[in-house]
């Protein structure tokens, strides 16, 4: 009678081991499949402690300016992030401008300013290259992808983050990107402690407050 009971218990432990292994595999698989943080996970541009990026749309072209605003609103409305608009150059964390850079090959670019001392490294500049002709929707897609880079995403398929890299894309923020942002900011993929957003207004356009109570901006 004792041997079968022991065998049953041993089998139970084996089943438990298999379950633990399956859970570990599942968790790791989900992490690998869904994680698309920009720049090898360096989080170099992430403004984690406020979930807020002051946004300066300094685009001259009326069409590109309007599409940049649409892209900003798309990210604001699709994610937990705030992108409060600035009407002047008052220490933006995302700065978008346009220019005719010529046939450089790229139509949009996101660049972190590493040496802008007063911005403490959390500043990104989006350049739109109006040498190239695009439809209004395509410009929104370009602005959407470059803003997505600055708030922390790499290229991935399914929405604007895949434009010019993947066949299945759109010019809008997709559920995949929104989920990534909404997961990463509270729980950064670099393993740093969870972050909590505080002081939000409903429209996400008013000042935000960080954990120390400082107004942002």
């Amino acid at each position: 009678m004792h041997c079968p009971r022991t065998t049953i218990r041993a089998l139970g432990l084996v089943a438990l081991a298999a379950a633990v292994a399956a859970l570990a595999l599942g968790a790791a698989t989900v992490t690998t499949a869904e994680a698309h943080p920009c720049c090898n996970g360096s989080l170099q541009w992430w403004h984690l402690h406020t979930f807020s990026y002051r946004f300066w749309n300094a685009v001259d072209s009326p069409t590109l300016n309007a599409e940049t605003n649409d892209a900003r609103a798309d990210w604001r409305d699709s994610t937990i992030l705030g992108l409060p608009n600035l009407s002047s150059h008052n220490k933006p964390r995302i700065h978008v401008s346009d220019n005719n850079f010529g046939n450089t090959g790229w139509v949009g670019q996101a660049w972190p300013c590493f040496h802008c001392a007063h911005q403490a490294g959390s500043y990104g500049h989006v350049y739109l290259n109006k040498y190239y002709s695009q439809t209004a929707n395509q410009w929104q897609g370009t602005a959407c992808q470059e803003i997505g880079h600055i708030i922390g995403l790499d290229h991935h398929s399914g929405d604007c983050m895949g434009l010019s890299y993947f066949p299945d894309t759109s010019n809008r923020v997709g559920q995949h990107s929104a989920d990534d942002i909404n997961n990463y900011y509270p729980h950064p993929p670099d393993g740093s402690p969870p972050h909590v957003r505080v002081g939000l207004s409903a429209d996400k356009e008013s000042p935000f407050y960080d954990l120390a109570g400082d107004a942002q901006p």
């Binding site: 218990r9 041993a10 994680a35 010529g102 046939n103 090959g105 790499d154 290229h155 398929s157």
Partner: protein, 215 residues
Amino acid sequence: MQAMITGVRARRTKWHVAVPTLIAAIALSLGITLWSWAAGAINPSPTDGSKAMDPGGAAIGATWAFRPASLRELADSSSIAVFAQVTDVQSGPPLEDLSGEDLGEPDEQGPPTQRIAFDVDEQLFGSAPTDLVVFKTGSDEAWIDGDPPYSIGQSYLLFLDQANFEPAAWVPPAPDGRLVLENGELRPMIAGPPGTALSGLTQGEAADLIRGLAN
């Protein structure tokens, strides 16, 4: 007494099985987790075949203006196609200086640029000089996904157009217009139809294919 002895034996038998099983379970779980973590760390990006193929390090996010749907479309969009070897890599003025405009921050210099000097080894179509300079956005430390740094001494297949912003320079019309020649075979920098058509070909095989398109 007999019952006590039997109970002790049962407990001994249970731990004899349980401890190794638990150790095996923990080891298996740790092994799978570490394997998955390592796989993710080595290649954290999706691998559905259409992602850029350069190693990590890209710090400049960008949207390309043009991605050709075929090798023919790439060739039709290029003035010249050459096999050429890198002879020098020089830093160029940052993008802000190129544009001639104040791009915002008083201490912002804009993205870096490079000029890559080549000796042309073989001309496939168009009128190419014997040596040329290619404009590149980025540096050896930061580059656009799909357009990693060039290496001096390395040979490439290049599809190029003249830069309209710098008369002496050339630019690929798309990131697909640059393939490295490694161990006698071509390897694309970014996945796409032209890369698929040319990947693994020798210089002679690629030259025949491209000259055939041009004719």
